[in-house]
């Protein structure tokens, strides 16, 4: 069984979920896909918006979370890091 997720793991899961949905996702779906509570997700979304990794946009009646280019780059770094950890057994 996997241990408790770190903050960076949660961010990785969130960004990965957005990419998995083609770069945009509804906040509710993001919450389920990333296994987070509502409060937790709100804090993380605000944080990631502040860091310009994601953007919040309104399309019709729905809110969407969209991945930015910076977010894509950061996710790639996280994936490299994950591979690095696995290889070195960190």
């Amino acid at each position: 069984m996997e241990g408790k997720r770190t903050r960076i793991d949660i961010i990785g899961d969130m960004l990965s979920s957005i990419v998995g949905k083609g770069g945009q996702i509804k906040p509710t779906h993001l919450m389920y896909k990333s296994n987070m509570s509502h409060g937790q997700m709100k804090t993380y979304i605000d944080d990631l918006v502040g860091k310009e990794l994601i953007k919040k946009v309104k399309k019709g009646n729905y809110d969407y979370v969209i991945m930015t280019d910076k977010g894509h780059e950061f996710l790639q770094k996280l994936r490299e890091m994950k591979e690095f950890e696995k290889a070195f057994g960190l």
């Binding site: 990965s16 990419v19 994950k82 290889a87 960190l90």
Partner: protein, 236 residues
């Protein structure tokens, strides 16, 4: 006199080139580990970066010593019909001897830091190990093989650790890492016997080069896997 030259004359410069490759590979890994540490703030990344920087620094010291000696202070003497290279350390003696000390110190400290990532140490153990490392370096002044033996033991343990990691996760990169460190450990055996014939130094350097190229290949594969686009999940 402290022995500082282990290379046969025809190999001078070539060993500097091989050590420069090792230095670059080590610096690459250290820089990436530092970058990842900044993201994750995990101590393991910090120690990994530190260990690779220390070993890179040791190679830098070795390159500096060899460069100074090969191109500045070596003189060839003829005795009877046998030509041999005698090391005459003049004004550069202090530089060469202290350089050799730092080369050995940084190598063993770097390997110990790397080892400590996987075998957690108490503060008392760390102090004790640093003491033993310094003692082994002092003994290596007269009996140079002690340094390579200590390096071999540390590299052997680290290689075994990477092999265990490979058995657990079956990742090709872990296997490549285990193989690379095993090859680098093997090179230490050849360096131990340099006094029998200097050709062992050449073999040791060649094996070490293979090890570091393997390490580079493992590192590039890690980055390549990380950049694959078709991963839906961050966790696999």
């Amino acid at each position: 006199m402290v022995q500082v030259v282990f290379s046969p004359k025809w190999f001078w410069g070539k060993d500097i080139f091989i050590d420069s490759i090792a230095l670059l590979v080590l610096l690459c890994i250290a820089i990436f580990a530092t970058k990842y540490y900044r993201i994750k703030k995990s101590r393991n990344y910090l120690y990994l970066a530190l260990s690779f920087y220390l070993i890179a620094l040791s190679f830098f010291s070795k390159i500096l010593i060899n460069f100074t000696i090969y191109f500045q202070v070596l003189h060839t003497q003829m005795i009877g019909s046998i030509e041999y290279t005698q090391v005459i350390l003049k004004s550069s003696e202090i530089l060469a001897v202290s350089g050799l000390f730092f080369y050995r110190l940084f190598t063993l400290l770097g390997l110990f830091v790397l080892y400590s990532i996987y075998e957690k140490q108490s503060k008392a153990n760390i102090i004790l190990m640093i003491y033993f490392i310094i003692v082994s370096i002092f003994f290596s002044k007269e009996e140079y093989y002690i340094f390579y033996l200590t390096g071999f033991i540390l590299l052997g343990i680290i290689s075994n650790r990477y092999y265990q990691n490979y058995r657990k996760n079956k990742e090709s990169t872990s296997g490549m890492l285990a193989a690379s460190f095993s090859v680098i450990a093997l090179s230490q055996i050849f360096f131990m016997f340099v006094n029998f014939t200097k050709h062992f130094y050449v073999v040791g350097e060649a094996i070490q080069l293979i090890g570091y190229i393997g390490l580079l290949a493992a590192f590039v594969t890690v980055l390549k896997h990380g950049r694959e686009k078709n991963k839906n999940r961050y966790h696999r």
